[in-house]
Symmetry: C2
Subunit: 306 residues, 2 copies
């Protein structure tokens, strides 16, 4: 059994790679919910959907989010009547959010709904939200503005300097059923190549998770989302610098010290290997760029065997 | 100025007729909200939407509800993932519900949102919900089941005997801003040919409305939704009988006694005119079947001149 701590696209690619090299039903994804938002009254879980759509083969590689074969009838109409169309939700994608919102209002937990949606999409891996509780990633900008994750990421296109990241509600949250068990029982716990500050930290902020991961340290494998000093996708490099960390595989390794027993870095960062091992973790050097299914499977194999 | 108490399709046709014979901007529609529902977390206001879409020339005459040129991408996908698809919401229509729900969650009143949506659709008449408060039409069946309006109307296709109709929340509700003023100031208050028990009664159940209408009695014109003993559309005839009323223009006139000064009935019911006048109202006989825009305008002219 493999348990993967997941953000969005990078995590989804790795999990899709793993599903090619192990039986998919032996994978458990524990997914960040700090990016979740309510828009037009609908509960949207971007990371859960990215992981689910990717495992279902529905991820839209062209846009980097949403569903293949998507159409935009609802959003186009919403734009015509002057509605807020900054957060684009495609027609197929909207069905997911209608389903989730209806079920949540009927009293189902986010974990229940996530599992139902994964099953409906033909996903055999277990997809778990890290928590059923509300946990909201909030960013404070240098000018003192306080933004939700999506305001920062989508509305501002992460083009604003950040001075603080908080996870509202985290202290009062608890792990969703099965999350701690999946960490405890896994042959390997994998920290996906996701943004450490915005995707992995909110998972670790749920009481009990960080300790559970640390207790499995020798079986925990992290993958650097930073290659040659730059984020493969998104604002992780910039954010690391803004919050006083080094924007490198070494900087990420420092954040995971005490949690991760093995850290996988890209060949271009091979020179950092020695300093990473000084942090008390094994360092594995390989090609970490999952630009297609084959390369994702190759990385997954290295991770599995690490 | 004309003020029209409105249910759904019958009212919308009459108002569209009126908009051909008076300046549309002099019309105020006071619309039933007892059929409103929350589905998939979205606030749907069927009667408000029918009136708005019809005045905007967007009403789907083929289906009798929803929007012309409609598509079903979201509902088709929702069906595929096993979601509840009994209440069909088209893609264009969904944009209305996303807009409404988002604005309501942001603190806008239903009246604000209704006005914004009417303006966005190019409607010049004022469209007002009768109340900003929650008022839910509930039906008790002969077997003791308690159904919301939409469970009765859509899920059961109104094919179940009803023993009681209630308007939950009505006693604690108040008229939306402008509603009483529109009734007081109107040259004519028109009770549209809508279901008296399910569309007009919930309007009159909002404290203050019935008294305001009664005080304008000499200027109140009602139109019978029952022609030759049958509802033009929907279950009004059956429901009248089940609840102990006569399913005829006379039966409806009795319900409106004390409120309506003039009652308009169809030519086929001309023989009931004498007994209706005995109730203390003038009776006008004309063709009330609004099967096309021309006939709707002709009826509207008779009503305007009544």
């Amino acid at each position: 059994m493999l348990t993967v701590l997941c953000g969005g696209v990078g995590a989804a690619r790795l999990v899709a790679g793993l599903s090619q090299v192990v039986d998919e039903s032996t994978i458990t994804c524990v997914v960040n919910v700090g990016d979740d938002l309510v828009v037009h009254g609908l509960h949207v879980s971007p990371d859960i959907d990215t992981v689910t759509y990717t495992l279902a083969g529905l991820h839209n590689e062209a846009t980097g989010w949403g569903v293949v074969g998507e159409s935009w009838r609802v959003m186009d109409e919403l734009g015509e009547i002057g509605g807020p169309a900054w957060f684009r939700l495609g027609d197929r994608d909207l069905a997911t959010h209608l389903y989730r919102t209806g079920r949540l209002r009927a009293g189902a937990s986010l974990a229940d709904v996530t599992s139902e949606l994964a099953r409906a999409r033909g996903v055999r891996a277990a997809v778990l939200p890290v928590t059923n509780d509300v946990l909201a990633t909030m960013l404070t900008t240098e000018s003192g503005e306080r933004l939700t994750f999506q305001e920062y990421f989508v509305a501002r296109r992460h083009d604003v300097a950040v001075s603080k990241v908080e996870f509202l509600g985290a202290a009062d949250s608890g792990p969703a059923p099965g999350v701690l068990e999946a960490i405890d029982a896994a042959a390997q716990v994998i920290v996906a190549p996701s943004n450490p500050l915005l995707s992995i930290d909110p998972i670790l902020a749920v009481p009990g998770i960080a300790a559970a991961v640390a207790s499995r340290r020798d079986h925990v494998v992290g993958i650097s989302p930073i290659v040659a000093g730059a984020a493969v996708k998104g604002p992780a490099d910039r954010l690391l610098r803004e919050l006083g960390h080094e924007a490198s595989a070494l900087g990420v390794a420092r954040l995971y010290q005490g949690l991760v027993g093995t850290f996988v870095i890209d060949e271009r960062d091979a020179s950092l290997g020695g300093r990473i091992e000084q942090l008390g973790m094994r360092c594995v050097v390989t090609d970490t760029m999952m630009t297609d299914r084959g390369r994702a499977a190759a990385l997954a194999k290295v991770v599995r065997d690490a």
